[in-house]
Amino acid sequence: MNMKVLIIEDEPALQQSIKTYLEHQGFVCEAVSDFLSGLDKVRQYPYDCVVVDIGLPYGSGLDIVKELKAIESPSGIIIISARGALEDKLKGLELGSDDYLTKPFHLSELNARIQAIIRRRSFGGNKAIVFNEIRLEPEAQSVTVEGAPVELTDKEYRLLEYFIANQRRVLTKAAIAAHIWGDEYEQVGNYDFIYTHIKNLRKKLIDAGSADYIKTVYGTGYRFTDR
């Protein structure tokens, strides 16, 4: 049941951060730090998702993407790169990568994207996301609590999906805003308005009969947890 993720990242500190966070979220992680061992790994074993950096010792991460496509690997692929130039991004996606994330990024964002990729690839997007009594149908973007439908706005739905993907983790307001509204939201300044959305989501879920999972972490952000 545990999803296997391969991390190919030459920066040990970053590799370790990713590994730690993903393992916390229930992934089984393997990590390598150069092109050749990355190539070896992807040839040996079909991972659910491969997280690959472009700039690697002995080769380019893009060639690993090519290799994965050449051997028709079922692995999902997400490129993480310091190069945010559009052509790099397009090249990566064109080669068959499922997603592209520019450094620096929030670990919660990487985690949410990996989960989305795996869901899309392995189950054609049909698999429901279940957290205790809450059930999300990604295809229809519908939510039920103990079978009873809950009407959520688009942003509230994405918020909930993001919370469940990063369950039990503290999510900063900046990370939440960046996920729902995109990086450009920082143009306008502060994140105070997030509070309103979270308040609404929490109220709708509780009204539908769910337990109160959204905990405010004072001054920091929020945590979605059943503990």
Binding site: A13, Y21, F105, A175, E184
Partner: protein, 423 residues
């Protein structure tokens, strides 16, 4: 003043004393010649008259002759050996004009009696000579002037052509495309020297520019990874449930600072990429659509701060712009209009086919023009989340796409207008 006009003028100015000097020398030469001839005639006349008087007074009678140009009369003076000839002024016969005369005066002993002989000859022709010479010199001067003008015009057309070509190239030169600019070899040594130097200079400028550009890009890229490490470490640290309140605050402040650093870095990268022309496109898009998208995206924030947005979309402002840059342009302008607004303030967006204007109320004073589009020219009253690069990016996008951007502070509103080319 044109270089050619200047040289022509100097040339003509130099010609004036030259021509005057030439005229004077010419006059003197002719004048001497005339004097010489007249003097000879005077002496010859005198000899004739002396012979005549000698014959007439042979019988011991005396002789007196008084004519306008001839005086012969006995005098009580010692005869002189040589006649004296001088130039005098005198009345012209019948006319009342004073003209120069060449006059011979001699006391000669004729048959033992001293006679004063005065003969003069009009030198009216000399005045005519001066007039003639002056006229000729003036004509030469005018002719020279005309010839110089004509030559210079031809020279300017032909000789200076390579110079103009180089000038035209320099005028349209852009740092990014400097490597494509070549100053051709010409048939003129001076222009060749100039063009060789220009070639060397553009090559140097371009390579320096590439080095700096590459450095900026690399520096920004290299910063991304350490930033990513620091940010992820903070995120992990934040998950520690044993943390105390103050510790969490410390981590958050550090995270915020890292976030800002990341944002700053991305803005610098964006600027570097715009300058490296990495966002060229042939497609046009409508800024109204982009604006609607961002109004939607910023809706919560606008609502939260009770800002009223008035839109007057009279026409579509279409522009040839890469989507990434269009996003950056609109999000920066609209973002600023929200960020620097006051609670309960106003934003007006007026768009026509040629003009795109965003105005907003604000508690910040008018931006001084010299600070307006400067990198890091953040007003003192800016909220903490400003990179100070937003307007610099907007300006850069406008400049690279031949759009004109203007700022005004009117009726308590800050207004930024983008105008399409050719308005």
């Amino acid at each position: 003043m044109k270089l050619l006009t200047k040289t022509t003028l100097y040339f003509l100015l130099a010609m004036i004393p030259l021509l005057a000097g030439g005229g004077y020398l010419l006059f003197r030469q002719f004048s001497r010649e005339i004097d010489h001839r007249v003097d000879r005639e005077l002496v010859y006349d005198e000899i004739q008259w002396v012979q005549y008087v000698e014959a007439v007074t042979a019988d011991g009678s005396s002789f007196i002759l008084r004519a306008p140009d001839l005086l012969i009369f006995p005098v009580d003076e010692r005869p002189s050996r040589y006649p004296s000839i001088s130039t005098t002024q005198g009345q012209k016969a019948r006319d009342n004009i004073r003209i120069p005369f060449r006059q011979l005066s001699h006391v000669v002993a004729i048959n033992g009696v001293p006679y004063q002989i005065v003969i003069r000859k009009s030198q009216e022709q000399k005045a005519v000579l001066v007039a003639n010479i002056t006229t000729i010199m003036l004509l030469v001067f005018v002719g020279l002037g005309l010839a110089t003008l004509l030559f210079n015009w031809i020279i300017s057309k032909r000789l200076w052509r390579p110079f103009r070509a180089s000038l035209q190239k320099i005028r349209h030169i852009e740092l990014q495309q400097m490597d494509e600019v070549r100053f051709e070899e010409t048939a003129t040594t001076e222009f060749n020297e100039l063009n060789t130097s220009l070639n060397a200079m553009t090559r140097k400028l371009h390579s320096d520019y590439l080095v700096i550009k590459e450095f900026t890009e690399n520096a920004a890229h290299e910063m991304q990874t350490p930033l990513a490490i620091a940010q992820t470490k903070m995120e992990l640290l934040l998950q520690d449930e044993a943390l105390t309140g103050p510790q969490v605050d410390t981590i958050l402040q550090a995270t915020d600072a890292l976030g800002r650093l990341g944002k700053l870095n991305q803005s610098l990268l964006l600027l570097a990429r715009i300058e490296a022309s990495q966002y060229e496109t042939t497609d046009t898009l409508n800024l109204v659509d982009v604006t609607r998208k961002y109004l939607d995206l910023f809706a919560e924030m606008i609502q939260d701060r009770q800002i009223t947005v008035e839109t007057e979309f009279v026409g579509d402002f279409t522009v040839k712009l890469h989507p990434v840059l269009a996003d950056s342009l609109v999000s920066n302008l609209l973002g600023n209009a929200v960020k620097y607004n006051r609670t309960g303030g106003r934003i007006t967006i007026a768009v026509s086919e040629r003009r795109y204007c965003i105005s907003n109320t604000s508690d910040t004073p008018a931006i001084p023009p010299q600070q307006l589009f400067k990198r890091f020219g953040v007003p003192a009253a800016a909220p903490g989340h400003s990179t100070g690069l937003g307007l610099a990016i907007v300006k850069r996008i406008a400049d690279t796409h031949h759009l004109y951007i203007a700022y005004a502070f009117e009726k308590d509103m800050h207004r930024f207008c983008i105008e399409a080319p050719g308005t």
